[in-house]
Amino acid sequence: MTDRVLAIGKNTFREAVRGKLFAAIGVFGVILMGSSAIVGPLSLGEQARIVQDLGLAGMSVLGFMVAVLIGTGIVFTEVERRTIYTVIAKPVERWQFILGKFAGLNATIFVLVVGMTVILLGAAWIEIGYFKPQLLQAVLLTWVELMVLTSLSILMSVVCSPILGAIFTFLLYIIGHTSGDLRELAQHFGSGSAKTVTNVAYYILPNLEYFNIRSKVIHSVHVDSAYIIFACVYGLFYCVVFLTIAGAIFERKEFK
């Protein structure tokens, strides 16, 4: 059973890394990380902060681009190109297909994150003169956030076209990063309905700010490992929710 998920995952990974989009994003990532070494010295006394900030933010943005640009089309194109026919005709459960797609895209993003982390750690080493393990905490939570966004993109890919899926995922990304602030604003200045809406958004949608410990790490503020574990579990919970919904919808789908 796991074999089938892995086979689909492997195929998805292969398709992603052989595609031009991934190559372009990968090259862009290397340039971005490299540029931090150039920009760093220009910011007087802030070189170390700039290198880390640019590196972590770049990782998050580029990972998000892969999750959205590949993820929102990942199931849709299988149906559109009819490659799904021969997979469905094999002894593969539909949830295995969804899980395999998730695994494959995650592996792709993982490779990107690992590559960029190596460059980031190297650049940070040069700037601050020692290895900073806290950076790995920020990288881990960035990766968990990207997992949540990947599962959300796959859900979108099951229910709508890639363009709509990308728009919705982007909106949910924005809301996910601002729902806490929006709720605070609504509590102070908003109407009753605004409070309800922001409360619903805050409690139902994933709060992506939980995964953002970048500024703490950059400023060497200690982040408790219990918090890291909580954030990981929180992220995995949303992955399970999004993938379960995607699987349930996909289970009922027919392919004309």
Binding site: K10, N11, E15, R82, I84, Y85, K90, P91, V92
Partner: protein, 352 residues
């Protein structure tokens, strides 16, 4: 026990915002026996691809059930024994032919070494061995069809469902696939395939099913179907003037390659005709009984609009009898439904 069974299978395809029904299949009842090659025929929009998709779980039947080996086709387990080639196969363009087969082998849970061996054997069998490491993006339509055929066999299935396996192939490719299908039967496999290429169906099928307007018009052995079709006898005559033969009033008389040829209908007495010709001093150089083909049967019973053209293109019909309106009321009604559904099917982008 039938290998494949459609039991009261119905399917309505809907389209548009209001989910209006645009196509109806069935209720379809059909059985395919072990070890036979079953040809599934019908005009565009008849429901061939739809019923195959229902069998493979790509579409779900609204009612009824498809069974493989007596078990419901819905379970994933039964698919271990089934191979499938979709119409106009689209495969992962980023994979090489070998990787494609390896991937599908993994989906069947075939162990690594066995999977790779089988993949290479199938590539060899389909004539793609030298392209094993070529990406499918570079394959021609015919090569993709052969790769599709290979993937349908990766699990060494007991029954293979092939949707239009011969379309898009050149004569050599068609011959190769025909031979492969015959080889499968020789190996004890069951083959169920839809096709528009009636000559191929006639050449290799044991039984045929004709689908029209979503309903099964006929399922019978090839022998039964062909024995019902009109036959005629072609007599070549020498040493007798064309006009003299024509005056005898024996069937249709024509000049062909310097010889006078008489075509007698099945109701006419061939022996009597030969005697008459000999009596006038003519020499009969050959007597060839002609049998109509599956295509003739199909054109007469399924596509009356095309039968006119077929009749004109087939001078072998002695008195135009083959062009008789042999369409039954049932076939006629089904054809009318079929035409409507074809138009609807085109709207929803269906195959077949």
């Amino acid at each position: 026990m039938p290998i494949l069974e459609f039991k009261d299978v119905s399917k309505v395809l809907k389209s548009g915002f209001l989910r209006r029904p645009v196509y109806r299949l069935g209720p379809l009842n059909l059985e395919v026996e072990a070890g036979e090659i079953f040809g599934y025929l019908g005009p565009n929009g008849a429901g061939k691809t739809t019923s195959i998709k229902v069998a493979m779980g790509i579409l779900r039947a609204d009612s009824g059930e498809v069974r493989f080996f007596g078990e419901s086709a819905r379970g994933a387990a039964v698919k271990h024994r089934v191979g499938f080639l979709p119409e106009r196969p689209y495969f992962y363009q980023h994979l090489t032919a070998f990787e494609l087969l390896d991937f599908y082998g993994e989906l069947f849970g075939i162990p690594g070494r066995k999977r790779r061996e089988r993949a290479m054997n199938l590539l060899d069998m389909t004539g793609l061995a030298e392209f094993a490491n070529t990406r499918l993006a570079k394959f021609s339509k015919g090569m993709l069809q052969r790769a599709g055929f290979a993937q349908a066999l990766i699990n060494d299935p007991d029954v293979v469902l092939l949707d239009e396996p011969l379309s898009g192939l050149d004569p050599t490719g068609r011959r190769q696939i025909r031979d492969l299908i015959l080889g499968l039967r020789a190996g004890g496999k069951t083959v169920f395939f839809s096709s528009h290429i009636l000559q191929d169906v006639e050449m290799i099928c044991d039984r045929v099913g004709i689908l029209l307007g979503g309903e099964l018009l006929r399922a019978a052995t090839m022998e039964d179907v062909l024995s019902e079709t009109l036959s005629w006898v072609e007599i070549s005559v020498e040493d007798l003037e064309y006009e003299a033969i024509r005056r005898l009033g024996l069937g249709r008389v024509e000049e062909k390659a310097g010889k006078t040829v008489i075509r007698l209908g099945p109701e006419e007495d061939t022996g009597e005709a030969i005697k008459t010709i000999s009596g006038l001093g003519g020499k009969v150089s050959s007597v060839v009984p002609q049998r109509q083909t599956l295509e003739d049967y199909f054109m007469r019973n399924v596509a009356p609009g095309k039968a006119e053209e077929a009749g004109q293109a087939c001078p072998a019909d002695p008195a135009g009898t083959a062009r008789e309106p042999a369409l039954t009321a049932e076939a006629s009604a089904a054809l009318s439904r079929s035409a409507k559904r074809k138009r609807s099917a085109e709207k929803v982008g269906m195959g077949n």
